[in-house]
């Protein structure tokens, strides 16, 4: 077939990009080569529309052991000769098409990024966004995604220790599924994604390759017939059992000392791992595609290069040590084939039936090499005018404490606030016997890093409505909240992985959100000394009706050098003093109360000042270190009243508090101003905290005391904490049950969407 700019366009390469490819090769590429560029210069692999801005983020320093983007995941020093490896990644589009397998393979993909570096995953988290929970389609997606995450994670055997779930109309067509994994590696046992040493053999390990995930390229192929489209699986099926074996075998094979480099095969499959490993090792590869085990017959070269079949690894082995490697994979009953060797000319040469099918300089394919980098146009979107026009004076304040009680009952049952137990019980959160939060909850999940003498505090955070209202400030808040959660758990935040979920980058308003959010994120990460170790960008979360809320999810890892600083969130004893650290603000902007109860779509991001936040966190850290508090829980969605109620659940203790600030009642109890933490302490400790706060210019307010179970606000009895817990625990289950009478149709109600 003749290769033209039109072929390139069908492969989602622009005419300019096609010219660039011709220039780089000094000739017109053949179809296989063009497919290779199409995969490698896709948004997913090349970050072409985002990398310029991502480079402005703090990408080194602190405890970082490799610079961002250098390896499959971030690697940071946790001391005692160990490192933590972590990353978050999206699987939004596959999950929209087939929620169960889409989410499952998302979990599988992120685990491979961790163990390909030689680390054993010890904790998973996930950050999910869906449309209105009352909607049938959302329920089908929710049920499928949760089952898929559980199916893969539970079988693979890594505990799901945390995450977040939000329901907002804007995600109706484009749900977000972001999965994060955290692993531990011993210093000196890490493996790099590199191909070095001319003549070293290249091994292909794991599942056989099928025509999975190559739909886009297939339709551009002139050879496609109506019959052959039916052979193309629209979804990739994950096999957690295979991946579990792959994990154990890969960690074992590293012990042999024979591994030069290793990379998993994810997006853009073989072409991506061969190109990235070669480019990193400043080498090339000679690959015989005939030797790749296949699941389907008569696969073409380009199909083999682009296939995204799951549970596969590429390993470069030191020549002469092949037997040790083969022995390990044989032990685990995993197919392992030598498919080629490392060369010194920087060229990727793919052969099939003895013929050269493609010859491309590895460097030209990869990010940081020949892949293009763009800055798109951006302009403030119009809706920001609506946000600026909001005045909270237009909202009538809550009349009195009795009316407040009725509102509080509604607020704790908002799906974004209510217990996610219906979801989380479907995940194995205790395998590994290292989740210290199971019986002792805290703001971030605390996971023992067994054998290292350390514990980790991990969290994912992003309130995307704040980002929508103010992309710069909203992204700062996402970072600040993640850090605050770790600080309130007694940890020290050390690093960030980000998952940037946005709409179409060619839309100037969307790109404005992206640029502003990255700027805000960078500013906050520098302040908290939490470099961004890596992550993922997911554009095109958009449909004809618009883009999703801009959602720059922050995955943050913190460290507890001393488990003794671990701080839990729950009330401990009747009579303890409840104190607020930080300042109350006369602000209801972007609160769940304003949005869900009052129905106000446009309002600014809540109060947030970076320096103020930093000072509050430093103060909380110091009173934890001085053992002055018995619990800490930050104020987030739902405001102060929700924080106070949540603190009572674990031990069934209540509270007796009163307001004395001269601000709106709704702002005092339901406002979502940032930089506030509720702690409890003995009377003596409380005095010391007040004293310390005064000398450090940190506002400390005594709110009241812990009770044996009764809830009293401003002198009015609000019932027992157990009644509040019932409402909070059962809200989501009740919403799902109420509409479970009707059959949720599979595959129905599918809407076309742009694929990334």
């Amino acid at each position: 077939m003749e290769i033209t700019a039109k072929t390139a366009q069908e492969l989602r390469l622009t005419a300019e990009e096609f010219e660039l490819i011709k220039q780089k090769l000094g000739r017109t590429p053949n179809f296989t080569e063009l497919c290779a560029f199409s995969g490698m210069w896709s948004e997913h692999c090349s970050y072409k529309n985002s990398i310029r801005w991502l480079k402005t983020l703090p990408r080194s320093g602190g405890r970082m052991l490799v610079e961002a983007g250098e390896e499959n995941a971030g690697l940071m020093d946790i001391g005692n000769g160990f490192g933590v490896v972590f990353k978050i990644e999206s699987h939004n589009h596959p999950s929209a098409i087939e929620p169960f397998q889409g989410a499952a393979t998302g979990v599988g993909g992120i685990q491979r990024d961790i163990f390909t570096m030689g680390a054993r995953p010890i904790a998973s988290l996930n950050s999910l966004r869906f449309g209105n929970i009352k909607d049938k389609k959302t329920q089908r997606l929710l049920s499928g995604v949760v089952k898929g995450i559980g199916h893969y994670g539970n079988c693979f055997g890594v505990p799901t220790v945390g995450g977040e779930v939000y329901f907002e109309e804007g995600y109706h067509t484009n749900p977000l599924v972001n999965a994060m994994s955290v692993g531990i590696v011993q210093a000196g046992k890490t493996v790099s994604a590199t191909a070095e040493g001319i003549g070293n053999p290249v091994f292909f390990v794991g599942s056989a390759t099928g025509k999975d995930g190559i739909g886009g390229a297939s339709f551009a192929s002139a050879n496609i017939t109506a019959e052959s489209t039916e052979e193309l699986p629209a979804v990739q099926v994950g096999d957690p059992f295979q991946e579990k074996k792959l994990l154990e075998a890969c960690l074992e094979v590293i012990e042999t000392g024979a591994v030069v480099g290793m990379q998993d095969m994810g997006a853009a499959g073989i072409i991506c791992s061969t190109a990235e490993m070669s480019a990193k090792g400043k080498s090339g590869m000679h690959i015989d595609l005939d030797k790749v085990p296949t699941r389907q017959k008569n696969m073409k070269a380009w199909e083999l290069l682009l296939s995204e079949s799951q549970e596969r690894m590429l390993i470069v082995v030191e020549k002469g040590k092949e037997a040790a490697v083969l022995k390990v994979f044989e032990k685990w009953d995993l197919p392992c084939s030598e498919i080629g060797h490392v060369t010194g000319d920087g060229l990727l040469k793919f052969y099939m039936h003895g013929e050269l099918e493609a010859e491309i300089p590895a460097y030209e394919l990869v990010l940081g090499g020949g892949a293009p980098q763009y800055t798109r146009e951006y302009a403030a979107p119009d809706y920001l005018d609506n946000i600026a026009a909001f005045s909270q004076d237009s909202i009538e304040d809550i009349a009195d404490t009795a009316a407040l009680k009725a509102v509080a009952e509604q607020v704790i049952q908002i799906p974004n606030i209510a217990s996610k137990k219906w979801i989380t019980v479907q995940y194995d959160s205790t395998v590994g016997a290292a989740n210290a939060s199971t019986n002792a909850p805290s703001d971030a999940a605390i996971v023992l890093a067994k054998g290292t003498g350390k514990a980790l505090a991990v969290t994912t955070d992003c309130n995307s409505r704040y980002v929508y209202a103010n992309p710069h400030k909203g992204a700062m808040i996402a970072v600040a909240e993640a850090a605050r959660n770790i600080v309130c758990s007694g940890g020290e935040p050390i690093g960030v992985t980000n998952c940037l979920n946005f709409g179409n980058p060619y839309n100037p308003g969307v790109y404005y959100q992206f640029v502003q959010a990255v700027n805000g994120m960078g500013e906050a990460c520098r302040k908290f000394n939490t470099p961004v170790t890596g992550g993922n960008v997911s554009f095109y979360n958009q449909n004809p009706e618009g883009a999703v809320y801009p959602t720059p999810t922050i995955g943050m890892v913190g460290i507890l050098d001393d488990f003794g600083t671990r701080t839990t969130l729950d009330y401990k004893e009747t009579g303890d003093v409840i104190l607020l650290i930080g300042e109350q603000q006369n602000d209801i902007a972007s609160s769940e109360y304003l949005h869900k109860i009052k129905g106000v779509e446009f309002s600014p991001a809540p109060h947030f000042e970076l320096d103020e936040e930093f000072a509050v966190q430093k103060f909380v850290t110091s009173i934890i270190k001085e053992q002055l508090i018995k619990s800490a829980h930050d104020i987030s969605e739902g405001g102060l009243i929700v924080t106070l109620i949540e603190k009572g659940f674990h031990r069934g203790l209540g509270f007796d508090v009163a307001a004395d600030a001269g601000i709106r009642l709704d702002a005092y109890w339901l406002g979502e101003a940032q930089s506030r933490v509720v702690v409890t302490a003995t009377k003596e400790q409380a005095e010391a905290i007040k004293h310390k706060g005064a000398s450090n210019h940190i506002p400390v307010t005594v709110l009241g005391t812990v009770t044996s179970g009764g809830v009293t606000v401003n002198g009015e009895g609000w019932g027992a904490i157990s009644e509040w817990k019932d409402k909070y625990d059962n809200a989501i289950g009740n919403l799902l049950k109420a509409s479970a009478g009707e059959i949720i149709e599979m595959g129905a109600d599918m809407e076309p969407m742009e694929l990334n």
Partner: protein
């Protein structure tokens, strides 16, 4: 008239079937090395009250398309028993 209908739901021909693959390994470990491939699906029986055989089949088709099989991953075959 009540019609007995059997429906076979199988993973699409070229889709990875992890279950089939694992069972294949198990059979080979048992020494049944002649087994070359295993694919696992579901067998569903329906009793349908309908005026005619054609209408019963139509109902079965609809049931399969809408609920019993996920067209993204599975195909189905309907067999009328009587």
């Amino acid at each position: 008239m009540t019609y007995n209908i059997q429906i076979k739901v199988m993973p699409l021909k070229d889709l990875l079937d992890p279950q089939g693959k694992a069972v294949l390994g198990g059979l080979q470990n048992l020494g049944l090395t002649g087994v070359a491939d295993v694919r696992i699906g579901k067998h569903i029986t329906l009793q349908i009250d309908a005026e005619s055989k054609e209408y019963a089949k139509q109902i079965a088709e609809e049931a399969s398309k809408k609920l019993l099989a996920n067209p993204v991953m599975e195909f189905f075959e309907i067999e009328m028993v009587d």
